[in-house]
């Protein structure tokens, strides 16, 4: 079994709460809130007006740039408002509000349960369909998928790496998706292989999901050029660069994209969305979310239409547990603690909701750095977190840049492992933001 070579930590995976819970459909909301930013890149631009009647699958907002993504309507009804809105973390943005009426879909969308195996489209047509469907990476980064499929000139993809790692503790949505829709994912992989013109695909799955490894291996057997790579359990194996290293032993250089080493990485949930878009004409309008936590009454995996207020999903899982201290959007390692849950819709970015009891929500008091070097050992990028934090605090931006602060992937291994409970990332994140801004400024002046 393989894994990535540098650093990493072993948090308890805590997947027992929601693992193997069948994917449950969340009922339609009365009002859907559709944020215009659900991806990395430029915000999408609304193409509907207040008062417009929309059907499920209709385009609501079109990509606002090269790196951006379409947003299609997840519900049918009337647009009541397009305007300011704040997300669960307090960040302001724009959203489209729709009063839901019935559930009327665009006629071209195939809503049957049939699996369509044949795909005769040309690569260009496949990529166009993916772009039209507004598909973004559902593993967390939300990078528009069609952009990844168009390698820059001179670069050639050699291998498609499928991310079935789900290394974040607690989350089980990708695991369950592989178990329930493995065949569709395999078809999606074949479609992407065709779009990229590669003849090899590797599905990386960590070995805490043995049933998923077996299931995908069985399905992949009949197909040429699709292999399953079981991986040793280690966080952050789902990180793009770590996964490429683990699967094919190539390390993406600092500042470069995976295509530099001939790899394109896509998450299993993204690939399922590709299957639905290409074979069933269904744009990305819903995703599977894990709602979990030690004290959640009905932890599970819920298929939720975007725009559904998360309060409704939480109600389905039995409500907010009484002693909840923190609600995290995503997993415990990289997810963000929510300030409130009102007016916050499910969207492309939200892979799960995790309820942490109060006792686990409070950060321990910091002690002196004892220079044990455990953060250096844990850092999967081979950085020196203790040093970067200090330099960040002292605003030594040039030194930060020289010590490769921009390579930090925000995985949290250093903070997780620090025996002195030092908040290393609290110093590194601002340094990264500042150094990034300085680099952009410098490049603009050239």
């Amino acid at each position: 079994m393989r894994t990535f070579k540098i650093g990493g930590v072993h948090p308890h995976d805590n997947k027992q709460f929601s693992a193997h819970q069948p994917i449950t459909e969340c009922p339609l909301p009365k009002q859907a809130i559709i944020p215009l930013v659900q991806h990395i890149g430029a915000p999408a631009q609304a193409v509907v007006a207040v008062g417009a009647k929309v059907k499920v699958g209709e385009l609501l907002a079109k990509a606002g740039g090269f790196v951006s993504a379409n947003i299609c309507s997840p519900v049918s009804g009337t647009v009541t408002k397009i305007g300011d809105w704040k997300d669960a973390w307090g960040a302001p943005g724009q959203a489209i509000f729709i009063d839901v009426e019935g559930d009327e879909w665009l006629p071209e969308i195939d809503r049957s349960q049939d699996i369509i195996r044949q795909c005769t489209l040309e690569p260009k047509a496949i990529i166009d369909k993916i772009a039209a469907a507004g598909i973004v990476g559902l593993g967390g980064a939300c990078f528009p998928t069609h952009v990844k499929l168009l390698p820059p000139p001179g670069k050639k993809a050699e291998v498609l790496i499928v991310n079935g790692v789900e290394c974040e503790p607690y989350l089980t949505c990708d695991h369950q998706l592989m178990l329930e829709h493995g065949e569709e994912i395999i078809i999606g992989i074949e479609i992407l292989k065709k779009a990229l013109g590669v003849d090899r695909a590797i599905i990386g799955i960590e070995n805490n999901k043995k049933d998923a490894i077996e299931h995908m291996e069985k399905l992949a057997q009949a197909k040429l050029g699709i292999e399953v790579q079981p991986l040793n359990l280690k966080y952050p194996q789902g990180g793009e660069k770590q996964l490429i290293d683990a699967c094919i032993g190539r390390q993406v250089p600092s500042g470069a994209l995976p295509i530099e080493v001939g790899a394109v990485v896509d998450n299993v949930a993204t690939i399922y969305a590709v299957y639905e878009a290409v074979q069933k004409n269904k744009p990305l309008i819903s995703r599977v979310m894990t709602v979990t936590g030690k004290n959640v009454t009905k932890p599970g995996n819920y298929s939720v239409r975007f725009g559904t207020p998360i309060e409704e999903v939480i109600a389905l899982a039995g409500g907010v547990p009484a002693d909840t201290g923190k609600i995290i959007g995503g997993g415990p390692m990289m997810g963000r603690a929510m300030d409130h849950i009102e007016e916050m819709p499910a969207n492309k970015r939200l892979s799960g909701l995790l309820f942490l009891p109060e006792a686990e929500s409070i950060r321990q008091e910091e002690e002196n750095c004892i220079r044990c070097g455990k953060c250096v050992q844990a850092c999967p990028m081979g950085l020196e977190p203790y040093l970067l934090q200090r330099m960040g605090e002292l605003e030594m931006w040039e030194e930060c840049e020289k010590h490769d602060v921009m390579d930090c992937i925000d995985c949290g291994c250093c903070v997780f492992t620090c025996p002195a409970h030092r908040r290393l990332l609290d110093g590194i994140r601002p340094a990264k933001a500042k150094v990034g801004a300085l680099i952009r400024e410098r490049n603009a002046n050239k």
Partner: protein
């Protein structure tokens, strides 16, 4: 509207703590301590108790009355560990007041002067030990002979350590007039098995190599320390001792293998390699830094052992390499995606 706690990710922690690490090191020292209690009796018990107590008191007093800290740090157990390590480096028959002076220097000068745990450039226990070695050379180099559970604390017999004989043997090479003394020295060396198990003279905690190695392996397995420093030190010592043997310096009756064995198993090597050089605060951060640090210690120690005036050089070697740590920390770890160095 309920208020939730907001804090940046990650929201999980390994559960590791400074206290846990210190506690594990103390645990790992216990087997060696048990052996010295058996070998040296009350002396070992009393010296260690005084040392630990004096270290903890010094830290408490300094942070309470001099630094006027609101929060005491003795709970992290680092002062207890310093006290124990200091005691391990002292002869068990040493006067109690010397122990107290050592503890005050170790914690006061070696650690608190710089701002407490994490800030000190030199290993505090070794600062204390070397201070005593220079101030009280006679008392510091008079070791009781190990003889089971001795009941009298102050009247133990004293004897030279194996390192003393080894140095004499190597230093007297090529002097025909010393031939008889060399032969006597070879005879005076303990059995290699005794050296391994600890039935010989020496400082309180350093006699039983077996117990120290077991403790060290325990620390590596529990991930408190990494293998780099101990392996680098031991490897360097083996190479150095082997080349002494290959140079043909050793007299009859002392094989190269035995010589390597004595260098490894006697003196402060094992204690130093697993417990003193690996002190978090005063050792480098990156793997390569640690390896160079270990090689430096092994080399300097063997130079002192072979040519220096002191029979043992572990403390000096570690302190000298401690001074190089800021420089060694300039060695970057292998970055992801960087061509192999």
């Amino acid at each position: 509207m309920k208020q939730f706690i907001v804090a940046p990710a990650p929201h999980a922690h390994s559960g590791d703590s400074v206290r846990r690490n210190m506690l594990l090191v103390i645990l790992a020292l216990l087997p060696a301590y048990a052996v010295s209690v058996i070998e040296f009796g009350w002396g070992a018990l009393i010296t260690a108790a005084i040392s630990v107590l004096a270290c903890v008191c010094t830290e408490w007093c300094i942070s309470r009355y001099l630094l006027k800290e609101q929060k005491q740090t003795i709970g992290d157990l680092s002062a207890v560990l310093t006290g124990l390590l200091l005691a391990f480096n002292l002869p068990s028959s040493i006067d109690w007041w010397i122990v107290i002076i050592g503890a005050i220097v170790a914690i006061g000068v070696g650690k608190m002067t710089f701002g407490g745990l994490g800030q000190n450039p030199f290993n505090p226990a070794l600062v204390g030990r070397v201070f005593l070695l220079i101030s009280f050379p006679a008392q510091m180099t008079t070791w009781p002979v190990a003889k089971g559970f001795a009941t009298s604390y102050l009247d133990a017999e004293t004897g030279a350590t194996p390192l003393y004989y080894l140095k004499y043997i190597v230093k007297s090479y090529g002097k025909p007039e010393a031939a008889q003394d060399i032969a006597n020295s070879v005879k005076a060396l303990p059995d290699i098995m005794d050296a391994f198990l600890g039935a010989m003279g020496g400082s309180l905690g350093e006699v039983c190599a077996l117990a120290l190695i077991l403790g060290g392996i325990f620390l590596i397995c529990t991930k408190v320390i990494t293998w780099h420093i101990p392996v680098a030190i031991i490897g360097t010592v083996v190479l150095f001792a082997a080349s002494t043997g290959w140079a043909g310096i050793l007299p009859e009756g002392l094989t190269t293998c035995d010589y390597i064995g004595y260098e490894l198993l006697t003196g402060g090597l094992m204690l130093g390699a697993f417990f003193m050089a690996t002190d978090y605060v005063t050792s480098p951060m990156s793997a390569w830094g640690k390896i160079i640090f270990g090689i430096g210690i092994g080399f300097i120690m063997m130079v002192i052992r072979t040519w220096g005036n002191y029979p043992e050089g572990m403390s000096f070697a570690i302190l000298i390499m401690n001074a190089c740590v800021p420089l060694l920390n300039k060695i970057r770890p292998q970055r992801f995606g960087e061509p192999k160095k």
